[in-house]
């Protein structure tokens, strides 16, 4: 007996993707390099999906590293300073970050696109400055950062596998959360605001709480991704607020396909594989150039991202064979 929702094509794909990703560590085995690549890929899928969720409300952020880094800092500081278990610390850190996200969102709701982009970028710089200034450096370690406990202590047998499956669970959970949110009334309201804010207002939707909600959810999930990343490496430093960290989810989401749930996932997988492949071949600088060119080509020739590629090819074929329908 197949549950009715599984009859839809996209759910079949989702379940298939989940099964494949659950089998991957078994195939890869004990190779640590591949495992790290897989774990980072999952973390960045969570991060890129969270960034992408914000764009569903018509807002784009250029400073999501602020939340990524704050999630890492708050979680590890709560775990170290107060001695909470890491799971609780990550959750608490994400809640605090979501609060800050809503505060930042409050300064942004009235702003137009370019201004919003600037302000979010500015917040990443300001927060980095706050972390490294001398008054706070006894706690934050200044530019040097500090060591963070591992997500799963390596004394436990099979810890890399447990870590992988935990992160896979969190990734699947957050994507499911985004899916349910977008299917609900909230998702409809967000779409209305994104398409035309004036008309949304006219039909009785107050955009402010919805935009703040999107900011809160996005920063919450981003913070979890950040906490997972620092726990994976066992180290945190203010470089986590760098522009690169802000730009990666944008690159992933856009090459994958903006405004779709699958976009950030596919984008992350394709770009990370390309990145690691070029790295293995020894192209240190060229890999940035390749990815930059790929990004620009996608925006110009495939505005809906790689997810729209099969459809585009189908259309092209139909035009070529002259099969007009």
């Amino acid at each position: 007996m197949i549950p009715p929702f599984l009859q839809e094509r996209r759910y079949q794909f989702a379940v298939l993707a989940f099964i494949v990703s659950a089998l991957l560590p078994v195939i890869v085995g004990s190779n640590q390099y591949y495992r790290t690549v897989l774990i980072l890929m999952l973390i960045f899928i969570i991060y890129a999906s969270a960034w992408n969720f914000l764009t569903f409300s018509g807002q784009g952020s250029l400073g999501h590293a602020a939340f990524f880094g704050l999630g890492g800092y708050f979680s590890s500081l709560i775990a170290i300073q107060f001695g909470f278990p890491l799971i609780i610390a990550i959750f608490a850190g994400a809640c605090v970050t979501a609060g800050i996200g809503v505060l930042i969102g409050m300064t942004c709701v009235r702003l137009r696109e370019w201004f919003l982009a600037m302000v979010t970028f500015g917040f990443a710089v300001i927060i980095q400055t706050l972390i490294v200034i001398s008054q706070l450096s006894p706690i934050t370690g200044g530019w040097d950062g500090f060591a963070v406990p591992k997500f799963i202590p390596s004394s436990i047998p099979g810890s890399p596998f447990i870590e992988y499956y935990c992160i896979l669970g969190i990734a699947a959970g957050s994507i499911l959360l985004f899916h349910l949110l977008l299917k609900s009334k909230i998702g409809l309201a967000l779409a209305a605001i994104r398409e035309n804010e004036m008309e949304a207002k006219a039909s009785g939707i107050n955009p402010v709480p919805f935009k703040l909600f999107a900011f809160g959810v996005s920063s919450f999930i981003t913070a979890i991704a950040g906490a997972l990343e620092v726990c994976h490496f066992g180290y945190i430093s203010p470089e986590i607020f760098g522009t690169d960290i802000s730009f990666w989810p944008i690159i992933y989401s856009i090459t994958g396909g903006l405004g779709t749930l699958a976009g950030p996932i596919i984008g992350t997988i394709v770009i990370s594989l390309l990145w690691e492949g070029l790295n293995a071949l020894g192209f240190t600088y060229e890999r940035f150039i390749v990815i930059g060119i790929l990004l620009i080509l996608t925006i110009i020739f495939l505005p809906k991202g790689l997810v729209s590629l099969p459809e585009r090819l189908k259309n092209l074929k139909r035009i070529k064979t002259g099969d007009e329908k």
């Binding site: 137009r112 201004f115 710089v125 001398s134 600088y285 930059g292 505005p303």
Partner: protein, 293 residues
């Protein structure tokens, strides 16, 4: 801490000098925004490219770097035009923020292309006047700084004359005021886009050269932060307003150096954004911006 008049004047002077770099960047950015209604986030990469082109010519020929500006500025115009044709023309009029995403791609391409050619180590350009300083009232300033301010002023006057007293300049201003109207008057607006982008890139390149000649070290990643600040400046001064960009550039230069002096160097980058955010909370469309709705 005792505040002497010399120290204050010194800080003000430093601010003015930093402001010159910012205002050149911001003016170019604003010119481009006015005509094309896009924001080029990769503007700092032109600053960096200008620096490296001057550096390359300097190493090759050994001429005075200020003279080499005459060679690097036209080169930057050409590069700007090429980038406009290849990357920005195809996305003109498509979705919001697309130009920012294209710029992110450009940032990666240009930075790493330069790093590939000249490595990413810190480099310097030695100015022939680096040991000469001039007594100016109560303070002593390096001659280079004075030359930089003079060159900035010359470039701005040149830009003013170009925009107000040549046919192309007038056409650019017309396009920036009303694109459709300009088109109906027989102006080739797409050519104006190209020219404007080239000029903007050249101003940024000049800013980079001046920055490097004054004794600052540079590497391929130097451009991002000044460009973002230039963007903050044009929001402060009003999108599309060139006097706003000049005043804003000098103001941010002064504020930055003032804070670095009073609060410490760590605050240097953050303070312009704090200023920006405060302004935007009070006036969401910028200091001199018009209300949109």
């Amino acid at each position: 801490m005792d505040l002497h008049i010399e120290i204050i004047t010194q800080v003000l002077f430093w601010g003015l000098y930093t402001g010159c770099i910012y205002l050149l960047l911001a003016t170019g950015l604003n010119l481009i925004f006015g005509v094309m209604k896009i924001v080029n986030f990769a503007h700092g990469e032109f600053l960096m490219l200008g620096t490296y082109i001057t550096f390359f010519l300097f190493v090759m020929s050994g001429f005075n770097p200020y003279v080499l500006l005459c060679a690097s500025i036209p080169l930057l115009v050409v590069i700007g035009v090429i980038i406009e044709r290849l990357c920005f023309r195809p996305i003109l009029g498509t979705g919001k923020l697309n130009e920012i995403f294209v710029s992110i791609g450009l940032i990666y391409i240009i930075q790493n292309l330069v790093a590939r050619i000249w490595t990413d180590e810190w480099k310097t350009i030695q100015s022939p006047f680096r040991d000469i300083s001039v007594v100016l009232g109560v303070i002593q300033v390096p001659l280079d700084y004075l030359i930089i301010m003079a060159v900035t002023a010359i470039l701005l006057i040149g830009l003013y004359i170009f925009l107000h007293h040549t046919w192309t300049g007038r056409a650019i201003r017309a396009t920036s005021q009303d694109r459709k109207g300009a088109m109906l008057m027989g102006i080739n607006v797409e050519r104006m886009d190209m020219v404007t982008f080239g000029i903007g890139a050249a101003l940024a390149g000049a800013a980079g050269t001046l920055w490097a000649v004054s004794g600052q070290v540079f590497n391929p990643y130097m451009g991002s932060i000044p460009a973002i600040k230039a963007f903050a400046i044009i929001i402060l001064g009003g999108l599309g307003s060139i006097p706003g960009a000049i005043v804003g550039g000098l103001a941010v230069g002064l504020v930055e150096n003032g804070t670095a002096f009073t609060l410490g160097g760590a605050w240097k980058d953050a303070v312009s954004f704090i200023l920006l955010i405060i302004v935007l909370i009070i006036r969401p469309t910028g200091l001199f911006g018009e209300d949109s709705e």
